[in-house]
């Protein structure tokens, strides 16, 4: 039974709705970003139906990860390893802007096409010269005489594994015709090369389904299988998924949910989800370096590998709360320590976690939730910058628009204030932004950073800041003031005292779940979410607010009816 599509057709009536994303600029009425408070939403309101419509989904070039996994599934690890040099010439996928993910990199250059050629040529050469690999891919007949009959029997399976759908008779015939124009010893090479260079191997097409409106197409079972695999695994669909597509099981609600549940439980999905958080939280930061300041601040601690241990602790926290069926709110307020490295455990004031038993609890009042973990806080030289910390929370965790600094900044505006005896970093940074045009721009985010001054650049909790200059001169200490009006929803909020209260306030705000949802929808559909596409994120955010777990929210993106449809750009 096909899924009901009445709501999709109804949705198309809303397709003319548009959203104008606010372009923020700290000029004129500085600070009025998004709404009257300068803290608000980054978009105009969108009228959403109860069931969101399909999301724009442009033709998708396989990411580098997807491409390599597709190759490995098709021809095996040894042949792909043998093409490592050629594969290395393929450009990496890079996240470009704030809130972007590397899987959103859709660039297509001559470097991509050249690399595809080199890889295809290398693998085709290896496979055709390796009798075992030839038999594995094309059957016994290919070893002795890959004639037309042999190819006709082997190609349906080979192309199915490559294209993740049943090939058409014409596609099979075309490869046979082309390969047959070569000598017997070259036919396998030709068939493999043509397959690996084919549009259906390098792109994920979603255009063979039934048209449900002029701009909306329902995905075929095979296309849905590929979309699921790309989303959850960043790779190709496995045989079980393809079989479900071929049998029609994926077209039924029950069969579809069965596959989604199987995939969600798969370890590769966890890796993808952790990768999502990793990019969202900017966890890939430079490790601790070597500097006179850090040399003083580290107090004899061996810093080797410590930043990696801090990052792993954040991953473990996420895994734990995903496994527990917790919501994002619980991750934002978690008091469990997952520090397995004794140095990190010492920073937290707990015993190291053994990785299996119940994790220890953090000391009360010092830390709460993921934002207070050393992996989110450390800097390369141990210094802190409340502006950057605040801007990160405002922009990346609350998804509020933050206006960029104007191009015509006053002289030395971006120069970091010096460390001086008797003045905390907060005092020094605050002194830089007393005057306009700095003051009103910084009002958007700076207070959040001041509250996070309760941690130093090694992620240690502090009530006193140790003042160390860039040259490594110890200038004594200064009291830390970690109270400020966080202004999460608006500037008339009471002051928040310390990062534990801040984490709670962020967790209590619907902005946190909304930001999580919008980032994840962006990750899913690999593009900026605009217009009515935001309705999908809004629906997930509502359900998170209603107590839905993170895992269920991640699963629900796929279960949403919009996932099974594709909206074309006009």
């Amino acid at each position: 039974m096909k899924l009901g599509l009445h709501s999709v057709r109804a949705w198309s009536a809303f397709s003319s709705l548009g959203v104008a994303w606010l372009v923020c600029g700290c000029t004129g009425s500085i600070g009025n970003v998004g709404d009257q408070d300068g803290l608000g939403s980054a978009r105009d309101p969108v009228v959403c139906k109860e069931t969101p419509g399909p999301v724009l989904a442009p033709l998708h070039r396989l990411s580098r990860t997807e491409y390599e996994r597709g190759l490995r599934q098709l021809v095996g690890d040894s042949l792909v390893d043998g093409a490592a040099d050629q594969l290395r010439t393929l450009p990496s996928d890079e996240a470009e802007g704030e809130g972007d993910f590397s899987r959103m990199d859709h660039r297509l250059s001559s470097e991509h096409v050249g690399a595809h050629y080199r890889v295809a040529d290398r693998i085709a050469t290896q496979l055709s010269q390796d009798a075992d690999a030839t038999v594995a891919a094309f059957g016994d007949c290919a070893r002795a005489n890959p004639d037309e009959a042999c190819l006709r029997s082997a190609l349906p399976g080979f192309l199915r594994r490559a294209f993740h759908r049943d090939p058409t008779d014409d596609e099979i015939q075309n490869v046979i015709d082309e390969a047959s124009s070569f000598s017997a010893g070259e036919r396998i090479h030709a068939a493999v090369f043509l397959t690996l260079m084919a549009p259906d191997f390098l792109y994920r097409f979603e255009n063979r389904g039934e048209e449900v409106s002029p701009e909306v197409v329902e995905l075929t079972g095979f296309e849905l299988a590929s979309r699921l695999a790309a989303h959850f695994w960043s790779g190709p669909p496995d045989d079980a998924l393809l079989d479900a597509a071929a049998s029609g099981a994926l077209d039924s609600e029950e069969g579809f949910r069965e596959q989604v549940d199987r995939m969600v439980a798969h370890p590769r999905t966890e890796a993808t989800v952790i990768g999502f958080f990793d990019e969202w939280f900017h966890l890939h930061r430079p490790p601790f370096g070597t500097s006179p300041r850090l040399e003083v601040l580290r107090d004899g601690t061996d810093m080797t590998g410590l930043s990696e241990a801090m990052r792993s602790e954040v991953h473990e926290l996420l895994r734990f709360h995903l496994d527990q069926g917790d919501g994002f709110r619980e991750a934002l307020t978690s008091r469990y320590s997952f520090a397995q490295d004794p140095r990190l455990a010492t920073i937290y004031g707990v015993e190291p976690w053994d990785g299996t038993s119940s994790p220890p609890m953090l000391p009360e009042g010092e830390r709460s939730g993921i934002l207070t973990r050393a992996g989110m806080l450390y800097t390369e030289d141990g210094s802190t910058n409340p502006f950057r910390r605040g801007a990160f929370l405002r922009r990346s965790i609350l998804c509020d628009a933050v206006a960029p600094p104007p191009a015509d900044l006053p002289p030395d505006a971006l120069q970091r204030p010096p460390t001086e005896a008797g003045a905390s970093s907060r005092d020094q940074f605050a002194a830089k932004i007393v005057e306009e045009p700095c003051a009103s721009c910084h009002a958007q985010f700076t207070s959040l950073g001041y509250i996070m001054e309760a941690y130093d650049g090694l992620g240690r909790y502090r009530t006193e800041e140790r003042l160390v200059t860039v040259e490594g001169n110890d200038e004594g200490t200064a009291a830390v003031d970690a109270s400020a009006v966080a202004a999460i929803e608006g500037r008339d909020e009471p002051a928040v005292s310390g990062p534990v209260a801040l984490s709670q306030a962020i967790a209590d705000s619907p902005k946190a779940n909304a930001c999580f949802a919008s980032r994840y929808v962006r990750f899913t559909y690999r593009r900026e979410i605009v217009g009515e596409d935001q309705c999908v994120a809004d629906r997930i955010a509502r359900e998170l607010e209603g107590g839905q777990s993170m895992r269920e929210a991640l699963r629900s993106v796929a279960l949403d009816e919009s996932f099974r449809l594709r909206r074309l750009e006009p």
Binding site: V23, C24, L59, R61, D85, Q86, R88, T89, S92, E94, E96, G97, R107, L108, S109, S110, E111, H112, V113, Y117, R118, A120, D121, A124, Q173, N174, E178, F182, H189, F193, L194, M197, P199, Y203, E206, N207, R208, H282, P286, G289, P292, L294, T379, E380, D381, R388, F392, P404, P405, A407, D408, D412, L414, Q415, R416, G457, V470, E471, R566, L568
Partner: protein, 544 residues
């Protein structure tokens, strides 16, 4: 039924209905029409190398601090000023007064070296050098990626991206790469060979390779660099390596590219594709056609490229091991020389986002990041903001390392290669080292130096200062002065003319040169009294 290749192509382009209902897609045209005709290959090709370093340019270290004969010292600025007025005026200010740049021979520094960055070690190439001062970006841009190659309307994402009201366009390396005057036929390697210590470059490619002058954010995409010398070698030179394509019968894969192209054309005619989807496939076709030309062209270009480098993983932005950085750039430089000598490419960009500092016996690396959320000694951008005594010294030393280790090595390599006319490959090249910005993130007087004369086009061996020192200093930062010089656009025009392009190849509007030339985003506190009537002309007094 099977079509042969020729008839299948005709079928696809002439089938009417679906195909002809598509938006205009250039790759559907017969190749004979796509190819530009009439350009004659230069007897000796010209090569262009663009080396870029990033924010925090130590301006004082770039320029002379001691005034030999032929120079004077600026009364306010304190910097050394060339004394000889250029014969050709820069233009007229709004008050009608003509203004001029000045020059002096660099040979005057033969005994000392030009500056703290261009030390006496670079003296063997002084006669090939031009040191520019006063090349100004017109729009008020801050951190940017493509300014030095002419995309002057785009800040980095963190600074809001597009400069409101400014033109966004592909960079000149891509404009030149499509010119038949640079490439009369397809090269065996990439038309633009991007190398660097991070994947994202400062170049912007047109999405539609057949419309390199298209403007707007949607018309361009950021090019990517090879960050591993071995991968770069394989990408550029594998086709001309002995035993590969060169000199042999075309292999199976080579003979099938044409067929693959047809597959993409057929896919473009599929159902339920948006115009954007079809454009993506069309671009893929264009790249495949280009690949086919490269592969076929390589057959006649055997080259002894036996020195395949080892793979180097230099890590992400902040992996700054000095030995790795040094090895990385040594290999890149050697690769550039090899690629030029094998003539597999003629345009190279080299993004230097890492450098080595040698400070009082203490050697360490500096890395620059697009996402500079960290801090510390090894963070180039962080140090540019610190700008204390350490930071200034380190950035100066790092720039000197780039000059002495990267630039000098490249100049030596290019000078060693002799072309058929007896001149060096360096003579026939134009090697530019420029920067993202000037002092403290400002878009004035972008530190820029060149070597080579592009085959005798440029008059080299000179310090040319286009700053109009008769104008008032608008403001000073980091010991740099904001005074009107000349539009950077005119330098871009000069580069393209030097490489053999005609204005029709790079101008969207006749006489207006290239890139955004309006002082968009600059208020009256900035220097912006430029003569825009000549923005499309080459720099004054620059040509032989």
């Amino acid at each position: 039924m099977r079509f042969d290749r020729f008839s299948r192509r005709l079928f696809l382009t002439g089938a009417g209905g679906t195909v002809l209902a598509l938006p205009w897609l250039s790759s559907l045209l017969p190749r004979s029409i796509r190819r530009e005709v009439g350009a004659q290959p230069a007897s000796i090709p010209k090569r262009f190398v663009a080396i870029k370093t990033y924010s925090g340019a130590p301006v004082l270290d770039w320029y002379p601090r001691q005034a030999p004969p032929g120079y004077s010292t600026h009364g306010v600025d304190g910097t050394v000023v060339a004394s000889q007025r250029l014969a050709e005026p820069t233009g007229r200010h709004r008050n009608g007064n003509q203004y001029y740049g000045h020059s002096a021979p660099l040979s005057d520094f033969a005994a000392t070296g030009v500056s703290n960055v261009f030390t006496e070690r670079l003296n063997p190439h002084l006669d090939q050098m031009i040191l520019f001062r006063g090349l100004d970006f017109m729009p008020g841009i801050n951190h940017n990626h493509g300014g030095y190659l002419g995309n002057l309307g785009l800040n980095t994402d963190g600074l809001g991206g597009a400069v409101s009201g400014a033109q966004i366009n592909a960079t000149i390396d891509y404009v030149m790469s499509r010119s038949p005057n640079v490439y009369p036929s397809a090269p065996a390697g990439p038309r633009v060979f991007h190398l660097g210590s991070r994947p994202n470059t400062a170049s912007y490619a047109p999405r539609d390779l057949n419309n390199v002058l298209a403007v707007g954010l949607g018309s361009i995409e950021r090019a990517q660099a090879y960050v591993d010398p071995r991968a770069a070698f394989d990408a550029a030179l594998s086709l001309v390596m002995p035993g590969q394509m060169a000199g042999g019968e075309p292999g199976v894969s080579t003979r099938l590219i044409d067929r693959v192209i047809d597959d993409y054309r057929a896919a473009m005619g599929g159902p339920h594709l948006s115009a954007a989807d079809r454009m993506t496939l069309d671009r893929h076709v264009t790249h495949l056609v280009e690949l086919e030309d490269r592969v076929n062209g390589a057959a006649a270009r055997a080259c002894d490229a036996s020195s395949r480098p080892q793979a180097i993983d230099s890590g992400r932005e902040f992996s700054v091991d000095p030995a790795t950085i040094t090895s990385l750039f040594d290999n890149f430089v050697d690769l550039i020389a090899l690629a030029f000598s094998c003539d597999v490419t003629r345009i190279v960009t080299l993004d230097v986002t890492k450098m080595v500092v040698e400070d009082g016996g203490n050697t360490f690396g500096l890395g620059d990041s697009e996402d500079a959320t960290s801090s510390g000694r090894s963070n180039w951008h962080f140090q540019a903001h610190e700008w204390d005594a350490n930071a200034q010294r380190w950035l100066g030393q790092g720039a000197r390392w780039v000059a002495e280790r990267v630039v000098l090595r490249l100049l030596d390599r290019l000078a060693e290669i002799t072309e058929t006319d007896g001149e060096s490959l360096l003579h026939h090249s134009l090697v530019m080292w420029s920067n993202e910005l000037s002092f403290n993130h400002l878009a004035y007087s972008i530190p820029t130096a060149t070597w080579g004369s592009a085959g005798g086009f440029l008059r080299t061996g000179r310090f040319i200062d286009y700053i109009d020192h008769q104008q008032p200093i608008r403001f000073r930062q980091h010991e740099g002065s904001a005074i009107e010089g000349v539009q950077f656009n005119r330098w871009l025009v000069t580069i393209m003319r030097a490489m053999g392009l005609s204005p029709q190849e790079y101008e969207r509007e006749r006489g207006r040169g290239f890139g955004e030339y309006g002082t968009v985003g600059k208020d009256d506190g900035h220097a912006k009294d430029y003569d825009q009537s000549n923005v499309g002309q080459v720099l004054p007094d620059i040509m032989v």
